[in-house]
Point group: C2
């Protein structure tokens, strides 16, 4: 892989998904796409897992650090998979442990989706 892409490219208005909720009525497709992300955070267990990862050092944590949410380990794995499928997390195996980390861009986009809606 080439190292030609060295631009800092810090977009302040990331928008990988959809327009702000208050800008115009969402189309069916946009709603479908956006709902996946909100639905992923619409479960208490997933919310706690996500919060644990986000508040960890460097925005990443291994599964062993966040498995104390009151459900079994397979259940934790299932929930992490859903968060990953929603594009909110990414995982990486590092030796024995698997580390999950948050996707700041997607998160910021969701935030703007709401705050901009409120600003109108």
């Amino acid at each position: 892989m080439s190292n030609a892409k060295a631009l800092p490219l810090l977009e302040p208005t990331v928008e990988p998904c959809c327009p702000p909720l208050a800008e115009r009525p969402l189309t069916a497709e946009e709603a479908e796409r956006t709902a996946v992300m909100f639905k992923a955070l619409g479960d208490p267990v997933r919310l706690r897992l996500f919060s644990s990862i986000a508040s960890h050092e460097g925005g990443e944590a291994c599964v062993c650090d966040i498995s104390d949410v009151g459900v079994s380990q397979p259940t934790v794995s299932h929930h992490l998979k859903k968060l990953k499928e929603a594009g909110l997390l990414s995982s990486e195996r590092r030796g024995t442990w698997v580390y999950y980390r948050v996707e700041p861009a997607v998160l910021a986009a969701m935030g703007q989706l709401l705050t901009r809606a409120a600003a109108v």
Copy 2:
């Protein structure tokens, strides 16, 4: 209590619910409360209804204006009820029609929940 506090008090950091996701791991109760709101927006139909209301004039709309989302009227009523129960909407009967309006404070709080998480 004196009325010395007559400031316009435009809090940029409304927080009727829970701390930012990245500040610390959410407790079970906080996660439960927050999940209700995210789950309410985790459905395509509800997201479209909500977006329609938020993008309407003055942030409010009557049911008759937003019933073209592809489901029957009773279903629309169900979804609006859920959004209302989640604290995202408030309703008011004005003559023949019932008007729904968004709750900007709650919306802003949800946004900060996410953006602050991303900012860490």
